[in-house]
Amino acid sequence: MPTGSFFEWLTKTPWAKAMNGPEWAFPVVESLHFMGLALSVGTIAIVDLRLLGIAMRRQSASELAADLDKWTWIGLALMLITGPLMFSADAVNYHYNPAFQFKMVCLLLALVFYFTLHRYATRSTTQSLLANLAGAVSLALWICVVAGGRMIAFV
């Protein structure tokens, strides 16, 4: 099956039809996406700022990561449900949207980084160059994800 018809099929699925149905459906799902954003990126950013040594200095990065992990997961789950729902509503157009493509590349990089080097850096108990670097890269990647997402409506 060529990819084009996969995206066309997506727009005809029951959940895509529900998204395009009542006019409140899209904004409500989008609002949930933003709440998930604050919970996922927001909690990762707290750990990043700690890795940079500029926030929550009374705790170690590993303590904070352990505290926040559950909430990061809830946020990520909310994002990964609401995001594809919005995508399905207009899959063909999103697929060709350069801002969307940029966002997906950054998202993939941000997630891979989060589960590998970021994890590794938060385990270390001392403030190191590696920790600073991991915090900065993580923040930069997530900022690109959010900025790319904002641009989707404008390109």
């Binding site: 950013a45 707290i46 700022l49 959010v146 997402g149």
Partner: protein
């Protein structure tokens, strides 16, 4: 001078025209608005979840509240100033948007919330280390509700026009 002609004057200013008609300025400012939710919203949610006793229980209330306070204020300043710029760009559209006025009403309630609970909860963190009070939990629940309402009404503005 009535309100509509005042808003028409706002729209005629150079800054308003530049944000509204420039291809990049509007999404960039909108990006800052959203980024402040992403980067500082987590601290707001965690503060309130800590006050509810649901999150970060291994940290004392004062550890969480005191260390997030400056960041939350910076985030609030960022979200309000980027929001003001966005409003300056299209005041007439917002004037006619019911969701915008709902959002402003919620923002007023945020101010009332701060006045009501600042003394007993948010600047009384040390006392809460001994145990969470019903007042603290109420403050947190109301704060989360107001915050969710601001997001929903803010998002609905784009669908009003």
């Amino acid at each position: 001078m009535n309100i509509v002609s005042a808003l028409e004057w706002v729209e005629s200013t150079g800054l308003s025209t530049a944000i509204r008609e420039g291809a990049l300025l509007y999404p960039i400012i909108g990006g800052f608005h959203l980024l402040s939710i992403a980067l500082f919203g987590g601290m707001l949610v965690m503060t309130d979840l800590r006050l509810l006793g649901w999150a970060m229980q291994r940290r004392t209330v004062s550890d969480v509240l005191e260390q997030f306070r400056a960041w939350k204020r910076a985030g609030f300043a960022l979200v309000v100033s980027s929001g003001l710029l966005l409003a300056w760009a299209e005041p007439l559209k917002l004037y006619r948007s019911p969701s915008f006025w709902e959002k402003m009403a919620l923002l007023v309630l945020v101010g009332v919330h701060a006045l009501v609970f600042r003394h007993g909860v948010y600047e009384n963190a040390k006392a809460l280390d001994a145990g969470l009070t019903p007042q603290a939990k109420l403050a947190a629940a109301l704060s989360l509700t107001l915050w969710a309402g601001l997001i929903v009404t803010g998002r609905l503005i784009a669908f009003d026009a």
